[in-house]
Symmetry: C2
Subunit: 411 residues, 2 copies
Amino acid sequence: MALIVQKYGGTSVANPERIRKLASRVGRFKKQGHQIVVVVSAMSGETNRLISLANEITKEPDQRELDVIVSTGEQVTIGMTALALQDLGFKAKSYTGSQVKILTDASHGKARIIDIDGQNMQKDLDDGYVVIVAGFQGCDAEGNITTLGRGGSDTTGVALAAALKADECQIYTDVDGVYTTDPRVVPEARRLDQITFEEMLELASQGSKVLQTRSVEFAGKYKVKLRVLSSFEESGDGTLITFEEEDKDDNMEQPLISGIAFNRDEAKVMVLGVPDTPGIAHQILGPIAEANIDVDVIIQNQGADNSTDFTFTVHKNEMHKALEIIHKEVQPNINAREILGDDKVAKVSAVGVGMRSHVGIASKMFETLSEEGINIQMISTSEIKVAVIIEEKYMELAVRALHKAFDLDEA
Amino acid sequence: MALIVQKYGGTSVANPERIRKLASRVGRFKKQGHQIVVVVSAMSGETNRLISLANEITKEPDQRELDVIVSTGEQVTIGMTALALQDLGFKAKSYTGSQVKILTDASHGKARIIDIDGQNMQKDLDDGYVVIVAGFQGCDAEGNITTLGRGGSDTTGVALAAALKADECQIYTDVDGVYTTDPRVVPEARRLDQITFEEMLELASQGSKVLQTRSVEFAGKYKVKLRVLSSFEESGDGTLITFEEEDKDDNMEQPLISGIAFNRDEAKVMVLGVPDTPGIAHQILGPIAEANIDVDVIIQNQGADNSTDFTFTVHKNEMHKALEIIHKEVQPNINAREILGDDKVAKVSAVGVGMRSHVGIASKMFETLSEEGINIQMISTSEIKVAVIIEEKYMELAVRALHKAFDLDEA
């Protein structure tokens, strides 16, 4: 008997019929003798409907109240999922984030989980209940409803698995596992049977979008066994996310590169011709961080004339806000020659723990892009990743070329 | 400066535009220097939509899970109302029933309020916030979400007013006050400037439907000053619900009868020819009460042959359940000659504290009905009320005739 946390996304609960199907599948696991915790998202489209309602009142809704409104989406789903399981003869009980309780900080709209009280859920599991928990939400220390941000249901699943010391956390998605890249861009993409946490982290954060970055970080931190499976196919073992040190190092035949990730959600902010003095990076990025804008790639190039060019990327939606902050709060102090924004860029990354012990991955990547006539605007490297920022229109071409160059195409 | 609780129903929050209007009105009170607590229902139609969703899963949803689903209706409205007030420049903060917290018993779907913690709300009020509370919901001692049953938002409003020692609880409805009877049935019906709690209680429970019985009981118990006003008209003082001992006894010119109430939601259950022994009433009604079925009128007539006829009324929706209980659980012990149900009945009542000191009200009522050829099936009297059960099809005729007979028609 295992304790399994299963997370289902919005398409799996899109309507009452799908919810009944989900309940049947959960019921089969339950009948095998497992203890099951189900984490569900809002019915697909519901979160957007609720945000639209709020936007009919005001274009800039207060985040606390938006969380109150938006969190009802999952609350409806947990009730319906419990009803569907009960209708099949199973004992089932729903929990909102506040009821669990999933304690978060007070950052409405992008709250982080601090602690989870698993006691009541464990008691219900021991009493034979299927426990159904609303994803994406929690409450702060004062009882205010918080949401973890879009996609936060994955994080809820992993965090619950950690709190309950579950044997496995299964994330059901509309794909049947993690692929070497997005099959919609490269039809030859292959499903990976397993992938390390580190690779997964890079692939997810780089835009593979199978799992949310935060959920993978969480799983890594708490050593949660994580598996990605298809919501719609009954067969298949999906992709198991492994701990490198335990599993993958044994396998000497591992490929250098596990996958090609890409992301078209980033925009570039360039602060050109600033004095090359100590502390300049902090002067520029400090106000950006204070405004809670996430920065991804950061590059600083020293110029010839004692000045330097500073470039970083943010989410496209936040580029204008970032530019405004630079103009208003930073420019008066640094007197940059020029401040520019560019949201017509994309990031493409080669990811693999194998590259750690091999030279030449980066140069092969640059060579491949060069052969396709693609100019590289920024380069960022980590131990298991080489990422480049290129013009957005070349993104698909770059992904296909790299997928082939690193021998990832289906045999 | 007063502390005012204002309760708005579903039609007042039917869409974002109405919510903005509501916020303007609340804002005007706030600007006058009052502390305001707003209680809102779900957007009209929303509760039915949510119940339908649940019914797509199962026709007999578990009440706990149904409460989880249905309570999201008000949760959306409180967030939107808070946003609308903030958009007008007011500080506003929403509370779900659980957040307040409004502690109830565990009777899902028809929970009763046990206690309200007003501390956080009072702090917010003192800090200048308009406090917005979800009507119709609370949570039990274990944190399960409960609902108070349809119309429970009125009760929430009154209970909050009691907990916060508010100066007045204003119930905004689609009528501009309490009338001598339903103006849709009798166009000559007049709005009452004030009415006693007792009369109001009878008028509401008899089906005037302006206020829910439980909210009026609550107001009486905790001496909450209650006023019924129109949501749609800006002028008018509505109808003030008074305590008889304080206000109305001073006025010697009060009318005998304040209003004619009616109710077509009742059904009659007849248990005929049962042994006339002590305890027979308990034997019959005990199982009905255990099944949580509310009984209104109860009549027992001794027969000639040592047997007795026992008749009571329940809500139409519960007649079949009541009959089933009588057949299965009661009949084996009492051996009644006949058990019958009739849902083609209506109740019509003359209500007024004035009748207390006057004889002849009942006989005038019977005379009036007799003149119209209406047969009386059951009679029930209390200190301030005479109610009769008649055939449903005569209901409007009876109401019109009585309204005229007791000089209630508009001058």
